[in-house]
């Protein structure tokens, strides 16, 4: 029917354009932004820009956390490579050695990474304190014992 064919054609055109737009977006922009964070090994492999903002993810190495007034310094590792992070600001409450963390910032020189956003990446394990008195975990930050 010609009377109803017109809206249907329009619908098909709108549908095709949306699919094409999504395809283009997926092929170009999303390719990079789907990589939510980089690992220390990945940044070790490529030349470091001191101006480009990077999001780094890894484990906070045990025994590496040093807290100063208004900043915290620690080593972020993925088992193969390490990055020394200097974060300006207080770490979130559950920030802990041996746990996952993400930092955002830029490299300063060859080894130091200056972060202004520190996010804790929690594991998928849930455990009570097992009869011990519950202690807020931030009391453990800064303790040098592994």
């Amino acid at each position: 029917m010609t009377r109803t064919a017109r809206p249907r054609t329009r619908l098909v055109v709108v549908g095709l354009v949306s699919v094409a737009a999504l395809g283009v977006l997926a092929a170009s922009g999303l390719q990079d932004s789907l990589v939510y964070y980089r690992t220390p090994s990945e940044v070790a492999a490529r030349p470091r820009s001191t101006t480009q903002r990077v999001r780094l993810g890894g484990l906070v190495q045990r025994g590496s956390v040093r807290e100063d007034a208004g900043s915290v310094r620690f080593v972020l590792t993925d088992g193969a490579a390490e990055v020394v992070v200097l974060h300006r600001g207080d770490p979130p409450g559950v920030f802990q050695e041996g746990q996952g963390a993400l930092v955002e910032g830029t490299f300063d020189g060859r080894r130091l990474f200056r972060s202004d956003l520190l996010v804790v990446r929690h594991s998928n394990e849930y455990q009570g304190a097992d009869g011990e008195t519950y202690r807020p975990p931030d009391a453990a930050v800064g303790a040098a014992t592994p």
């Binding site: 939510y36 559950v94 990446r121 009570g128 304190a129």
Partner: protein
């Protein structure tokens, strides 16, 4: 059992399960060793997300049933399920955000799990919008059914986002090949399951109530006694539109 009785029984069971959830989640289960009290939000955040998946699965089934049968009753079932799914997805995002602030340190971040969940929410908000574009109920129902079927791809995308891509959101603890064993303390798992039962029953109760309202709206208005006889109108719908 009559429809109303089923509804009442579901309502009572949902209330009982919710009471059990409050006791187990707030009093019996211990606070998490790392996250502390904030971890208790898991007992409502995870059920909200799971029951939203379930609701979108119901949208898929009812949409297919509508496309096969062309019966508006299936369309109403799909609509009620989609409304529930949208509400629960919004709830899961809000609860997750409240959990994220103390544990992650941020309310929001553009990680793949969070982005795919927002896309899921927008697609089903769009599904509800598509239902109102045309005047003819069958045209609306057919378009909505197509969106309702296609939109379901988002559900596995959301669920596996934490497995396929790097995310801040933790990978699954319970819905994974290895199961929940050794990753969560048993009493915490029991509280979580109580939450799932409470949310499922509560959602079923709301679903039946909403379905009743939608069916009443769709039914022809009752003819009052003593009123002039209403001329009967037969609507013949052409095929091919």
């Amino acid at each position: 059992m009559s429809r109303g009785a089923v509804e009442r029984v579901l309502g009572v069971l949902a209330a009982l399960a919710a009471a059990a959830l409050v006791v187990l989640g707030l009093l019996v289960a211990p606070p998490d060793a790392v996250q502390g009290q904030a971890q208790r939000l898991m007992y409502v955040h995870v059920p909200a997300a799971w029951v939203a998946y379930l609701a979108f699965a119901a949208v898929l089934v009812c949409s297919v049933a509508y496309l096969v049968r062309r019966d508006l009753a299936w369309d109403r079932r799909a609509q009620a399920a989609a409304e529930l799914g949208v509400g629960l997805t919004g709830l899961a995002i809000m609860l997750g955000s409240i959990w994220g602030r103390p544990v992650w340190g941020v309310w929001w971040t553009w990680d793949p799990r969070l982005v795919t969940t927002v896309v899921l929410l927008l697609v089903y908000v769009g599904y509800l919008g598509v239902r109102g574009l045309a005047v003819d109920a069958h045209v609306n129902a057919r378009r909505a059914a197509v969106v309702g079927v296609a939109g379901f791809v988002n559900v596995p995308l959301v669920h596996f986002s934490v497995v396929w891509w790097r995310t801040l959101h933790q990978p699954p603890t319970v819905l994974r090949p290895a199961g929940p064993a050794s990753a969560i303390e048993p009493v915490m798992l029991v509280a979580l399951l109580a939450g799932v039962v409470a949310f499922t029953l509560g959602a079923g109760w709301l679903y039946l109530r909403r379905l009743r309202v939608l069916a009443r709206r769709a039914a022809p208005p009752p003819v009052s006694v003593g009123a002039r006889p209403v001329p009967s109108v037969t609507v013949v719908r052409g095929d091919g539109e």
